[in-house]
């Protein structure tokens, strides 16, 4: 799809890093403050969508992005399910919190919850980015 005007591109260049950092912050602090993997993942997906809408892309780059997005979505799902199965292997309970609890209100605490947040963020972000790419940016069906 085509890009947008110079104003949109300049503003995008300025704000996109801040939005990405905010998304990562929401994910990593999911067990301490409101937010978590789902919200942070959607914000991270939003930065990629913003870049695509502002700068556009060729049909080839869109197809490659869709492939990368689906790979990352599967990786996130695999990470989430492997944390759950590790719980079975180590303690005998599905989704058992097998890591140390740590001190509450510290960044490294709450056992597997931060890892699950990161897995969900990768999965949700890549999945929603793929959906938007397929629905809004691609021209597969219409032009073929």
């Amino acid at each position: 799809m085509k890009g947008m005007s110079l104003i949109v591109k300049t503003v995008t260049n300025i704000v996109i890093g801040f939005i990405l950092i905010y998304g990562v912050y929401i994910v990593l602090h999911g067990h301490l403050t409101p937010g978590g993997g789902f919200a942070g993942g959607v914000i991270i997906a939003g930065t990629f969508v913003l870049k695509f809408l502002a700068f556009g892309g060729t049909a080839r780059s869109e197809r490659e992005s869709l492939t990368i997005g689906s790979v990352f979505e599967s990786l996130g799902a695999l990470l989430f399910i492997s944390v759950a199965i590790l719980g079975i292997l180590l303690t005998g309970v599905f989704f058992a919190n097998f890591l140390a609890k740590g001190i509450p209100f510290h960044l490294v605490s709450a056992g597997i919850i931060p890892i699950c947040n990161i897995a969900i963020a990768i999965k949700v972000g890549a999945g929603l980015f793929s959906i938007i790419l397929a629905l809004a940016a691609m021209k597969y069906v219409i032009e073929d």
Partner: protein, 177 residues
């Protein structure tokens, strides 16, 4: 509580505008207004986790809708047309079931406990044990990723299925010309 009811009334008005307006772009913007008002309502009833998710999802939804509309058509041609015979029957049937639903729903809602007084003990147990058993300071993260992580796995599966469905619908290879 008055501002809560103000926003609920705003949601109703914006939703009715979204269904009745002829320009689809205006309808989508009206739908976005509904979503952001829902986010504010979540903040007012002290659910910031849900408010963040609602805001970001609403932004992405409006982006999808605007992108699709800008590639197809702006005008909803079904609004303002006269209804055919079978459509009138469908509308009457729908109105009957809607009124029936409202009557039954009113009776059911009348028997619910007051706002902030849950009937089940399990929620208060989660709140009591959350910090000690999981170590997470955010009780919502404790519940969705530790106590009820299986539910979250189901939710992730739903999203995974949705992505597979979209990719299958929008695929290039294997389509009949």
């Amino acid at each position: 509580m008055i501002e809560l009811y103000l926003f609920l009334a705003f949601i109703l008005v914006a939703a009715i505008i979204a269904t009745e307006i002829k320009d689809l772009l205006a309808a989508v913007i009206s739908l976005g207004a509904v979503g952001f008002a829902v986010a504010i309502v979540f903040i007012l009833v002290q659910a910031p986790d849900l408010a963040i998710v609602q805001i970001v999802i609403e932004v992405l939804t409006v982006v999808i809708f605007v992108a699709v509309i800008s590639r197809t058509t702006h005008i909803d041609e079904t609004i303002g047309k006269k209804l055919a015979g079978t459509q009138i029957f469908a509308v009457v049937l729908f109105a009957f079931f809607a009124i029936l639903f409202l009557v039954v729903m009113g009776k059911a809602l009348y028997q619910l406990p007051a706002f902030g007084h849950p009937t089940m003990k399990i929620a208060s147990e989660y709140i009591r044990l959350g910090l000690g058993q999981t170590g997470g300071a955010n009780i919502v993260a404790d519940v969705i990723l530790d106590f009820r992580a299986l539910d979250t796995l189901g939710e992730a599966t739903v999203l995974f299925t949705a992505v597979i469905g979209v990719a299958a619908l929008m695929r290039k290879s294997g389509r009949k010309k």
